[in-house]
């Protein structure tokens, strides 16, 4: 990867801001942005002012203009326009042929690349190289709350329902819960294959009132069945729960004894780096489009709905931020909808819950949220074959 000795040029930053930089340039610019607040601010400003400018009201075309045009044309008035092509020479036949060939080659290359990307997501072996590192992560909520990473290889369809609104993070209270991941087979036999704890506590982050979430779990890795320790620390704004910074640590991970991902959320982007003990390092910068917000992460997800007022017909959309190292693991868009109420028996005792449906691009699952405080108590994911059992993530103690 090329590294900048000095700041990237304004043009290079502009290309990066618009997502038009070549992969090597994007990578080196992203690495530079990690350590350079000045350039980072410039990129953020360009994106922000561009988005704001598009939102500025403009007048509509009045019918009177058309009426004037039609009346004048009826009277024989004509105008000669400077069309886009009128002052250019037509391309020679040779140029046309070259353009067609180039287009065909480029198109074919793009098509092959797209197929490759999808295959690498679907079939990445457990000992794959660094490029396949991020196809298999399955942290707590990603495994239970979401269907996996494969569908995120492309930006998902925009949510069909409005984003979750009215988020008031000050409604949350310091909380510490224990949870389990279980497989329940068709006979009702329970196999616990993971357990952990997650804690929400007040904090400050760079002088800002925040919530800090500490998540720690030991799970069986789907790749080899071995035990894996997963830890995440997350800071979010106290008022609207927008993510500020995040650190994820997994050990072991594939062929490495440990991997660490650090993220920082600034403006509409997430910046960060990934490191393994095997010397694999990668910096990244990904955009979080506003159309998919609000955003949260695995660790906060069980607490998140405590910050909104749920009701019988409540629904909203939200996206979970992935590790964001690879472009297909940036965001997971979900729609949540209250479908009823249910009294649920859990190891921590019975509780009255909102029963919810979580819909993603890859399917649906059931979610039970405690009415009294909005805490996510249980996620159930049915096996692909009906009647073959289900996986659930449940709160076992508080």
């Amino acid at each position: 990867m090329r590294r900048f000795l000095f700041h990237p040029s304004a043009a290079a930053l502009g290309r990066f801001a618009h997502g038009e930089a070549s992969p090597p340039d994007a990578s080196s610019t992203a690495a530079h942005l990690l350590t350079c607040p000045r350039c980072r601010t410039a990129v953020e400003f360009q994106r922000d002012v561009s988005a704001a400018a598009k939102r500025v009201d403009v007048p509509s075309a009045p019918p009177s203009v058309l009426a004037r045009v039609l009346a004048e044309r009826a009277e024989g008035v004509r105008a000669i326009l400077p069309t886009a092509d009128s002052h250019r020479r037509a391309p020679t036949p040779m140029i046309r042929v070259a353009a067609v060939v180039l287009l065909a080659i480029t198109g074919a290359a793009l098509a092959i690349r797209a197929v490759d990307d999808r295959q690498s997501v679907a079939t990445a072996p457990a000992d794959a190289g660094a490029d396949s590192l991020f196809t298999l992560h399955d942290l707590f909520v990603s495994a239970g709350f979401l269907p996996g990473t494969a569908y995120a290889s492309e930006l998902p369809a925009r949510p069909a329902v409005p984003p979750i609104s009215g988020i008031d993070g000050t409604r949350l209270r310091p909380t510490r819960v224990m949870f389990e991941s279980r497989w329940v087979d068709s006979t009702g036999r329970i196999t616990v294959d993971g357990q952990g704890r997650t804690e929400l506590s007040p904090a400050t982050y760079q002088g800002m009132a925040a919530w800090r979430i500490d998540y720690h779990a030991t799970m069986r890795a789907p790749e080899d069945g071995g035990l894996r320790v997963e830890a995440e620390t997350l800071w979010v704004r106290r008022d609207n729960l927008a993510p500020l910074a995040r650190s994820v640590h997994v050990s072991p991970y594939l062929r490495f004894s440990q991997i660490t991902i650090r993220q920082r959320f600034t403006g509409d982007s997430v910046f960060g780096d990934m490191n393994t003990d095997g010397g694999v390092h990668r910096a990244f910068a990904q955009r979080l489009p506003s159309a998919y917000g609000p955003y949260t992460t695995d660790a906060l997800a069980p607490f998140f709905l405590g910050a909104v007022e749920l009701g019988p017909s409540w629904r909203g959309s939200i996206s979970i931020v992935g590790w964001a190292v690879r472009s297909y693991d940036v965001l997971y868009s979900s729609t949540l909808e209250v479908t009823g109420t249910e009294r649920v028996a859990l190891p921590a005792g019975p509780c009255d819950c909102w029963k919810m449906r979580i819909a993603t691009a890859a399917g649906t699952r059931s979610y039970w949220v405690r009415k009294s405080d909005g805490l996510g108590m249980r996620v159930r994911v049915d096996a692909a074959q009906p009647g073959k059992g289900f996986r659930e993530f449940i709160i076992t103690d508080r």
């Binding site: 360009q46 704001a52 400018a53 939102r55 000669i80």
Partner: protein
């Protein structure tokens, strides 16, 4: 057999009819594209009256101009390029008389505000205050999504000059909208 209404025509059928100067086809093209073209003209000229004149000129000459449209690209993109040329020609021909919205009076820089990007009135005023040459590049690049090569073609400048102008425009906007920088 009754003729199909223009609203049910495919784009190429509509273009074919507009080339024959059918008033109904022109009206349908106006219904489909005039708002987007008006927005572009307004952003480039900064004046509703000028934007309406640009729109008028474009549609007045459209039947003849469409004969040079080869239908290789999207019609709206082609119409936008034509509109941009008409607007830029108009700007070059005579000095632009800017409109300033009643509620868009310039506000003094306030260092207590971290950013005024959420204030769209301020954003509009800041863009309006850009020199014409910078404003055109900003609008074409940041709002309309043209490449510097395309802008260089429209403005008859080099791509490098387009990049420089954009940089200056962004710098000026940042000074206005993020006073603390």
């Amino acid at each position: 057999m009754p003729m199909p209404s223009p609203s049910s025509l495919s784009q190429s059928e509509l273009v074919a009819r507009a080339r024959q100067a059918s008033p109904e086809a022109l009206a349908e093209l106006y219904a489909r594209h005039a708002n987007a073209l008006m927005a572009l003209a307004y952003r480039l000229t900064g004046s509703t009256a000028d934007a309406e004149d640009v729109l008028h000129d474009v549609f007045l000459g459209l039947p003849e101009a469409l004969r040079r449209y080869d239908e290789q690209g999207a019609l709206e993109s082609w119409l936008k390029r034509v509109t941009a040329r008409v607007a830029l020609t108009r700007l070059r021909r005579r000095g632009r008389s800017r409109e300033v919205a009643i509620d868009a009076g310039p506000e003094p820089a306030d260092s207590r505000n971290a950013t005024r990007l959420n204030d769209l009135v301020a954003v509009r005023a800041a863009i309006d205050a850009l020199p014409e040459s910078l404003r055109a590049v900003f609008v074409l690049r940041e709002i309309e999504g043209y490449s510097h090569a395309e802008i260089s073609d429209l403005l008859e400048i080099s791509p490098a000059a387009s990049e420089v102008r954009l940089h200056r425009a962004l710098k000026a906007l940042r000074r206005t909208l993020v006073p603390s920088t």
